[in-house]
């Protein structure tokens, strides 16, 4: 009797354990949800909710000091942006000019340096560290340093130019040179992209290169037919992040030039215009509308890039994988 009860008990416990294991197996994704819950809460509280509120404000005449619900004005802010605001188009032009040059140049530079740092050379760890260190310098510090370097009269760059007989460049005082100066500054922090490229390069199987070498493929051919195609996912990622960041350029101009964007507003980038509308003119509703437009533009570019990636980004031989 005693043994029978014990067996029944053991059998019940085993069933219970089995059921628990099965339940856990069926709901194993729950643990993932638990782990991402803090991030998800942050996303909702700090991104989604402000975004929705910002969207709402963009349809209002929200001024500093408004208590209670701000006056609803429908699409007035948007109409004003597209019909009356000459700094909208100017700041958008400056921003697109900036990212049109800075993003490809930075990608190219980061990729090129990553290729060099991927070589098997003695002391390579030191070189990698040296190239990455500038990325660790805070952007504001780098900007201040560049402002000194680019000073027309006392900056090191112009002093060198004069020494070798090149006419000095008015980096920060000429409307023609402000955007190139910002682009040069943007190249400074290429280290983060370089590291991603380097990781991508190291994940390319060596046997592909060996096979190409056996078939007589030289360095350039290997680069063109193996490295670049296999690096397209990394290039795509860096391009996407670069475009998004390029549209949001602000700090460099704010620190190195001024809130007006320098002579003839040559450096008036879009985010600076948003900032001026919010914190100089205290037109928060209008600034919110400008932000929404920027969001839509970035969204459009992101979707376009993702869509285009089907044509040029190589994600592996999916058909053979399925087989």
């Amino acid at each position: 009797m005693q043994a029978s009860l014990q067996a029944k008990h053991n059998s019940g416990a085993a069933n219970w354990q089995t059921r628990l294991r099965e339940w856990w197996f069926r709901h194993r994704s729950l643990i993932g949800f638990v782990f991402i819950a803090p991030w998800f809460a942050g996303l909702i509280i700090f991104d989604v909710m402000p975004f929705i509120y910002n969207l709402y404000l963009s349809f209002t005449d929200y001024q500093i000091g408004t208590r209670g619900a701000p006056p609803w004005i429908g699409l007035d802010n948007y109409i004003k942006i597209f019909t009356e605001d000459k700094f909208f188009s100017k700041s958008m032009y400056n921003t697109v000019y900036y990212l049109g040059f800075s993003v490809p140049l930075r990608l190219f530079l980061a990729f090129f340096i990553a290729l060099i740092l991927n070589l098997r050379v003695r002391g390579m760890q030191i070189y990698r560290t040296l190239f990455y260190v500038p990325s660790v310098v805070p952007l504001i510090a780098a900007t201040v340093i560049f402002a000194g370097l680019l000073n027309t009269r006392y900056g090191m760059i112009n002093q060198l130019f004069v020494l070798v007989g090149i006419p000095p460049v008015r980096w920060l005082s000429s409307p023609d040179w402000i955007k190139p100066s910002l682009i040069i500054l943007s190249l400074w922090g290429f280290g983060a992209q370089m590291i991603i490229f380097l990781a991508g390069l190291q994940s390319i199987p060596q046997d592909l290169y060996e096979a190409a070498a056996i078939d007589g493929g030289g360095s350039l051919r290997r680069l063109r037919h193996i490295t670049v195609p296999l690096m397209t996912p990394t290039i795509f990622f860096n391009l996407l992040i670069g475009v998004i960041g390029g549209f949001q350029v602000f700090l460099q101009v704010f620190v190195m030039i001024d809130t007006n964007g320098g002579p003839l507003q040559a450096g008036l980038v879009y985010m600076l215009h948003v900032y001026n509308k919010a914190f100089r003119d205290f037109e928060f509703g209008y600034a919110a509308a400008l932000s929404v437009i920027l969001f839509l533009i970035i969204f459009f570019f992101t979707v376009a890039l993702v869509y285009s990636s089907n044509r040029w980004v190589y994600y592996g031989d999916e058909e053979s994988n399925e087989a």
């Binding site: 500093i64 208590r67 000073n151 009269r153 000095p168 007006n260 002579p263 919010a278 914190f279």
Partner: protein
């Protein structure tokens, strides 16, 4: 024993005497303590002066504690806007005139007329122009300190550069024409632009308005409803500024480069190195000069002070300064609406101390060698010891003309500045620049007044 008793008595009397002589800061508060955060921009050497002012105030008001929160200039607008609009703003805020008007319009700060009446504050101690510009829509929102005047009417000049160019260093230029002739003789170029600069009109709305008034022009009508700067005087002024910049200084970019990273308060400026002959100043520059280069400041064979030259070819023109335009337009100490009445009253007491008390703004500005908006403070003869050109400073204050502005002044200034820049860069004529700016600015001004009148 008797001697010992006398000694003890003497000690007690001494202690009592000492207590009597000690500043009232030692007094304790017998009521509820009120803590005020004082948001201000009195940084650099002025921070210590402000601390001293606060200690004097607290000595007289032991139940009010002031926390001196000096703010950085970077992100100023952002800091101020978020602080003022928050549900827990600072107890008292140092605001520029456009900000005072904006916050008053938005209902973020309170008018102080009731406190003035309740405390019997004598507003007649201020220059009329100084207190006058702190009113918005008929209500007073702050007491001034420092002056809004004296910011544009004065120039410092370098006597050594004048003498080297063959001019009498004790006879600074009176007119535009004299200034131009001297600047042409003094200015020296180099491959990187300008090495020694005579004088520089700036491609900004502020400098244009400053020069405009020395050509008998006006920025706006007295009721602040009509922009007037695109007058014949305005066009003549801008043409003169551009012509001088192009012919003597080699273009506007040279000027930007010359002043790149220059800072008088931080002691890094061509003025200190005898590379600049005539420099438009505001009265804070005396203090900065004295702090950074005391030996040079004391040497009056190096520098002098003069009034801003006027257009000698315009018989109506004379020396003139502008009050209430420019960046600050007249600083004031404003009281946020969010706080309970007892905090607001404490804030007013502090504002009143800053504005009118001998140990307040009066002493604070004296230490910097700059004038006070309180007339009596400036009559202190000791000013001549602190500032060797005090007589010129007072004469400059006399020439100041108040400029009426509105809460949309920031936008109007931006429009004017942008068009002036285009004229300096040769993209349009002076007349077109001013006409375009006036047309654009007037539309904003009309819209503002239409809304304002509708809300009345």
């Amino acid at each position: 024993m008797k001697l010992s008793g006398l000694v003890r008595l003497a000690i007690v009397l001494g202690m009592l005497l000492a207590l009597g002589l000690m500043p009232a800061a030692a007094q304790s508060c017998d009521g509820e303590m009120i803590n005020l955060e004082f948001m201000n921009w009195w940084g650099a050497a002025r921070e210590a002066y402000m601390d001293e002012l606060i200690s004097h105030f607290q000595a007289e008001n032991p139940c009010i504690s002031i926390e001196n929160q000096v703010q950085p200039w970077d992100n100023r607008a952002e800091l101020l806007a978020t602080a003022a609009a928050s549900s827990n703003p600072p107890g008292i805020i140092m605001t520029t005139r456009p900000e005072t008007y904006q916050f008053a319009m938005s209902g973020l700060i309170i008018p102080i007329d009731a406190f003035v009446e309740q405390h019997g504050t004598d507003l007649s101690v201020f220059y009329d122009g100084e207190i006058g510009i702190q009113y918005w829509n008929g209500e007073l929102y702050g007491l001034p300190m420092p002056t809004a005047g004296g910011l544009t009417s004065l120039f410092m000049y370098n006597k050594q550069l004048m003498a080297a160019a063959g001019f009498d260093p004790e006879s600074p230029p009176e007119t535009w024409q004299e200034l131009e002739a001297m600047a042409a003789a003094i200015t020296v170029g180099d491959p990187l632009g300008v090495d020694v600069l005579g004088v520089s009109p700036f491609a900004t709305d502020t400098d244009f308005v400053n020069w405009l008034y020395t050509n008998n022009g006006k920025y706006v009508s007295d009721d602040a409803r009509t922009l007037l700067y695109n007058s014949a005087e305005g066009v003549e002024t801008l043409e003169w500024m551009i012509n001088l910049t192009n012919t003597i200084n080699g273009g506007v970019e040279n000027i930007t480069d010359f002043y790149q990273d220059a800072s008088l308060p931080e002691g890094d400026h061509p003025w200190y190195d005898s590379e600049l002959a005539f420099m438009s100043i505001n009265t804070s520059h005396f203090g900065h000069f004295n702090v950074n280069r005391p030996e040079l400041y004391a040497d009056t064979s190096y520098w002098g002070t003069m009034l801003r030259p006027y257009n000698g070819e315009n018989p109506e023109a004379t020396h003139a300064g502008v009050t209430g335009y420019g960046f600050s337009g007249g600083w004031a100490y404003t009281i946020p609406k969010e706080h309970p009445p007892e905090m607001q009253e404490a804030a007013f007491k502090f504002a009143e101390f800053i504005g009118t008390h001998e140990l307040g703004g009066c002493a604070f500005l004296f230490k910097q060698g700059r004038p006070s908006p309180v007339k009596a403070c400036n009559e202190n003869q000791a000013y001549y010891d602190v500032n060797p050109y005090w007589g010129v400073v007072l004469a400059g204050l006399e020439t100041d003309t108040p400029v009426p502005i509105t809460p949309v002044q920031g936008q109007l200034a931006e429009i004017l500045r942008n068009h002036i820049e285009e004229a300096f860069f040769g993209m349009k004529s002076a007349a077109d620049a001013l006409n375009d700016a006036a047309a654009e600015g007037q539309a904003i001004l009309d819209e503002f007044w239409a809304e304002f009148d509708a809300g009345m």
